[in-house]
């Protein structure tokens, strides 16, 4: 079947845009339910120790307070750790809210106050008195470095560092040019606009409908069924909209557990919404201390590369992400040693946060590469071209495609990189020093198994559906575009349905895999619909398509046409009449090719160029220009794709200059737990950002040639900015965020 390209590859506005700007898009805390009760979480005042007593009498005495759940009266749930492991749980014992008196992280939930109104619940929560036996918390990663360990159990889906190749230490000792430095990434919290929230609707007879803030409803359903011993038929999860998540909504969070517990115990509907400060008790990008050593010849050709990272995790789970692996594949280098260790801290378990591991590791590698450029006197871009990796030398595989050279070339041209003067502090305007820096970005191009359904109606409308979530990324729109082109339907007649366990199962929306995975599934389902339609069309008496097969027809404007002669055609409605149906529906499952993944490495790449202007005396940094040139295979929607990269770049500016969750190691709490003091970029921080998608044809990475865009925009951005800061000031700052105090130091 030849598909038209009327929609795919064009700039389409979000189909969900009107619902969002008019407020009709419902988020987890906005669904109504009869007789709804409201739960408010009480958070622990200590970080490590035990609850010695909870006095809930004052709260329970308030008329309208229904119940106070604590570890002493919590409803029974599954016994084994196994039952609490969700789809993306790292190895260990998942946190169970109200499980016992032990406190293992700051802000741990210690009670849920349920009342007839939110106000009453919050008032009740303010009356709970908890006494603790407090122990000294251990939250300082630097102090735990010596005790760091290689995680004994690997996290599913996260590749451990590949085995060493060559002799990195030996080659480093022999290399004429060497450097070895330490790099630090601060803790960042995702801070999506929408706080975590769950509304559990009690449908009677043990049946629940759950609206949860989650990046995939099946994960919520599986968790709830396993923890509360319920049948999937009795638990439907509907979460059509997610107000940003960035990874914080991959795992079911404790407000879900508490809301379901309360609903089952009280046999009524319950809503639990976390406050902004409680959002800082969930997962985060872990603090990571890294050492990168590079050895090169005078021409800048890498001879040795060592990259080791130590990252924090909780005492109960070994969260893992790929921090150092990028250093084994981004450049050609014969001698590479990579290492990744964890240190247990009295914190909640870290979580995947937009480009988990890559933001951290590529920052270190790409700043080190800039340092090598300075040490060798080679232009940073030229240095990267000299070390260009034609294959993934970490896994010894060819790439499915790699248009990184085009990213470098087109990005540099647009940025005007050739006009850069190499010497630090050599560019200025008025009081401001100007710095130009660049870095490479890389992210894995995943594809996951996904199902989807397509249903074409005789009135010409099409519905495409699967259970994945649109976190604000554009999934509603791209799936509609794919369906529209596959079946010749104008996009205005396509409806996408997402975020419902009643729909065909799709993976969690994460890892940048949704477009490739669910997009391929929608295309397969549409293809199955078209097969049925063609079969009906061929049945028509004296059908002009009697001898046509699928390879020779196109679906355009509600007609099935012979590709070689569009005047030979059958209306879809006539085909349906012939088949005696009013709708044609198909559900199909797309799967990644095991053979391809064994033979090929699949990655998105980018080249990021940044300009900073710095008032050095006062430490004020402005990021005045960023050009991000991206190679990501086929681009489905130029508009939402660009938005993904813009968002990634903005978040990268935040990581570079602003974002840091500050732990007080005496009390073990993140102290700046609000939007006033945890700084993310505001409009004034953002200037020109230009996005380029370079041509990259890839027929292996996924059936539809798509690589995904959710993460690549953030990777490398912090390094490009840090390198620009060095170029402007001559100061090499190896810790992000690069705050004002570091500039004036």
């Amino acid at each position: 079947m030849a598909t038209t390209n009327l929609h795919v590859g064009t700039a389409q506005s979000r189909l969900d845009g009107p619902a969002k700007v008019t407020g009709t898009a419902k988020y987890a805390a906005e669904f109504k339910a009869a007789d709804l009760a409201y739960g408010v979480v009480v958070s622990s005042a200590i970080t490590r120790g035990r609850i010695s007593a909870i006095d809930a009498a004052a709260a329970l005495a308030v008329p309208g307070v229904i119940q106070v759940f604590t570890h002493e009266n919590r409803p029974r749930t599954a016994w084994l750790d196994y039952n609490y492991r969700d789809q993306v749980a790292p190895p260990g014992s998942p946190f169970r809210a109200l499980h016992g008196p032990e406190i293992s992280f700051g802000g741990q939930p210690v009670a849920l106050v349920v009342a007839e109104s939110f106000d009453l619940a919050r008032h009740g929560a303010s009356l709970i008195r908890v006494t603790y036996e407090e122990e000294v918390p251990n939250t300082d990663l630097a102090k735990n470095r010596e005790a760091a360990y290689v995680p004994p159990k690997k996290r599913s889906g996260i590749k451990p560092p590949p085995d060493p190749r060559g002799d990195a230490e030996g080659a480093l000792a022999a290399a004429p040019i060497t450097l070895r430095h330490e790099y630090k990434q601060a803790v960042e919290h995702h801070n999506p606009m929408e706080p975590h929230a769950t509304t559990v609707v009690w449908e009677g007879e043990g049946k629940l409908t759950i609206h949860d803030k989650i990046q995939g409803v099946n994960n919520t359903q599986g968790y709830v069924c396993s923890v509360f011993n319920l049948k999937p038929d009795d638990v439907r999860v509907i979460s059509p909209y997610v107000g940003g998540a960035f990874g914080s909504g991959l795992r079911p969070q404790y407000q879900l557990f508490l809301a379901v517990s309360a609903a089952l115990d009280l046999k009524r509907s319950v809503r639990v919404v976390l406050s902004r400060d409680q959002m800082f008790t969930l997962g985060y990008r872990p603090e990571t201390i890294q050492t990168v050593a590079l050895g090169a010849d005078e021409d800048g050709r890498l001879q040795a590369l060592l990259h080791e990272a130590v990252a924090g995790t909780s005492t109960f789970e070994d969260y893992q992400e790929s921090v150092v692996n990028w250093s084994g594949l981004l450049y050609h280098c014969p001698n590479v040693t990579l290492g990744y260790k964890l240190a247990k801290l009295d914190t909640y378990t870290p979580a995947d946060m937009r480009a988990p591991g890559a933001v951290t590791g590529v920052f270190a590698l790409e700043v080190a590469m800039d340092e090598l450029a300075c040490a060798t006197g080679i232009d940073p871009l030229e240095l990267r071209l000299r070390n260009y990796a034609e294959r993934d030398e970490g896994e010894n595989k060819d790439f499915t495609s790699k248009a990184l050279r085009a990213c470098y070339a087109e990005g540099a041209a647009r940025f005007g990189w050739a006009r850069r003067t190499a010497e630090p502090r050599s560019m200025r305007e008025g009081r401001e020093l100007i710095g130009w820096g660049m870095a490479t970005g890389v992210w894995e191009a995943f594809m996951m198994k996904s199902s989807a359904r397509a249903r074409l109606s005789i009135d010409g409308s099409l519905e495409v559906a699967c259970s994945t979530a649109d976190l604000g990324t554009g999934t509603y729109t791209i799936l509609a575009q794919i369906g529209a082109d596959a079946l010749g339907v104008p996009i205005g007649r396509v409806r996408t349905q997402l975020g419902d366990t009643a729909l065909p199962e799709a993976p969690l929306a994460g890892g940048s895999w949704t477009a490739a995975s669910s997009g391929a599934a929608v295309e397969l389902a549409c293809r199955a619909v078209s097969e049925q339609l063609l079969a009906f069309a061929r049945r028509i008496d004296e059908s002009p398509l009697a001898n046509a097969d699928l390879a020779h027809v196109t679906f355009v404007d509600g007609e099935i046409r012979l590709a070689s002669d569009p005047s030979v055609r059958v209306a879809v409605a006539d085909a349906m009449h012939a088949g005696g149906v009013e709708t044609v529906e198909a559900t199909e499952t797309a799967k990644p090719s095991l053979l391809t993944s064994l033979r090929y490495a699949a990655y998105t790449h980018s080249a990021v160029f940044a300009e900073v202007r710095i008032d050095e005396e006062l430490g004020v940094v402005r990021v005045t220009r960023v050009v991000s040139a991206v190679a990501a295979g086929k681009i489905l929607n130029l508009k939402t794709a660009r938005s993904q990269i813009l968002g990634g770049v903005v978040m990268g500016i935040g990581a570079a200059l602003e974002e840091e969750s500050m732990l007080d190691h005496n009390v073990g709490r993140f102290m700046n737990h609000n939007f006033g003091e945890y700084h993310v970029p505001v409009n004034a921080d953002i200037h020109d950002i230009e996005v380029i998608f370079v041509d990259e044809h890839d027929d292996k990475v996924s059936p539809i040639g798509v690589k995904g865009l959710g993460e690549i925009g953030i990777v490398g951005t912090a390094a490009a900015i840090a390198n620009a800061v060095h170029h402007a000031t001559g100061k090499r700052i190896r810790e992000i965020p690069i705050t004002l105090d570091k500039i004036i130091a």
């Binding site: 008032h123 008032d615 005396e617 007080d664 004034a684 004002l740 105090d741």
Partner: protein, 337 residues
């Protein structure tokens, strides 16, 4: 947040009476800070006295200066033609703070009474002498990057967060209040206090007193002024250091100098000796540095905020240079001048 009663005051006298009679009552106007504090359980008032209907929302001519009613929204002050013409320092400071939405809601009196942004003050999971007197100050040995370097005590190292108040301090405003014992006028420098051993008291207001107006004297410093604010992002962040500078010049010579710092102390910080040291001197970096040295001689760093001393030194020099040159910092152009 706790449950509370609500009273709408029909007159200033009624408001004063209601407040004075109830130690756990709080005045609410814009609520931009109080409501946050209630959500964090930092403030647990048993009664809110709504004063938004009182006739305190006018800006009027007063003894050659301006009288700004306690209920005038911050944005109204910032865009008032008389204020922008005669007190551009005040307008600039207001526009350096918060967001348009907050400035629309926040009142003049409330801005004076906003409380510190110290992390510990907002977190009931930690001790805080300002929130619970006698419980301790974890900021001293904790995360204190945003904390004070001047006028601190062993009980508290919090800063006052206002931008507007830094300008009002430099302008020598007067705060007119009314309490159970009648009205009184408080010079701005005496309105906020240092923490000492009573950090729970931000101001010299007695319970039962409410702010009626802020009165600006006739000296307006409209030619040589600046409000320079340095922070962790280019907008919508509290000052790490800010400088309100107001000068009167005779050619290159400084006739009168007013200098107030924000972000460095429990109150807008002024140093009379430093101001006098500028007067009669030729404007220039050395003069400015000498004044900065005088101010910062007594500065005391903590583990994470030592940078503020050098930053304040540079900000004072830059601020005075901007004021002397008559090229004030723009609050829309995020480039520092």
């Amino acid at each position: 947040m706790n449950r509370f009663a609500y009273t709408r005051a029909g007159s200033v006298a009624e408001a004063v009476q209601a407040l004075a009679g109830d130690p756990a009552a709080r005045i609410i106007a814009g609520g931009t800070n109080l409501v946050d504090l209630m959500k964090y359980n930092v403030e647990r008032p048993d009664r809110l006295i709504d004063i938004t209907r009182l006739p305190l929302a006018a800006i009027e001519e007063h003894e050659g200066g301006l009288r700004i009613g306690a209920l005038v929204p911050n944005s109204t002050v910032a865009y008032d033609a008389r204020v922008t013409a005669r007190y551009p320092l005040l307008a600039s400071a207001i526009l350096a703070g918060a967001s348009p939405q907050l400035r629309n809601a926040a009142s003049t009196g409330g801005n004076l009474l906003q409380r510190t942004r110290c992390y510990y003050f907002y977190d009931e999971g930690t001790p805080c002498n300002k929130r619970v007197p006698g419980s301790g100050c974890p900021a001293i040995a904790g995360v204190n990057r945003i904390h004070a370097i001047l006028g601190t005590s062993d009980h508290c190292i919090a800063t006052h967060p206002s931008d507007m108040c830094v300008a009002l301090a430099a302008l020598d405003a007067t705060v007119r209040v009314e309490g159970p014992n009648g009205p009184r006028a408080i010079p701005f420098a005496e309105f906020h206090r240092l923490p000492g051993d009573e950090p729970q008291r931000d101001t010299t207001l007695a319970h039962g007193e409410i702010v009626l107006s802020v009165d600006l004297p006739d000296r307006d410093f409209s030619r040589h002024y600046t409000y320079l604010k340095l922070r962790d992002r280019l907008s919508y962040a509290f000052a790490l250091v800010s400088v309100a500078a107001a000068l009167e010049m005779d050619g290159e010579t400084i006739r009168t100098a007013r200098l107030a710092l924000g972000g460095v102390a429990h109150k807008p910080w002024r140093n009379a000796q430093a101001e006098r040291s500028l007067e009669g001197r030729t404007a220039g970096p050395e003069t400015f540095r000498a004044a900065a040295d005088l101010i910062l001689a007594e500065a005391k760093p903590y583990a994470h905020n030592g940078f503020k001393i050098e930053l304040a030194r540079r900000a004072i020099v830059r601020g005075l240079a901007q004021a002397a040159a008559g090229t004030p910092q723009s609050q829309t152009d995020k480039r520092i001048r």
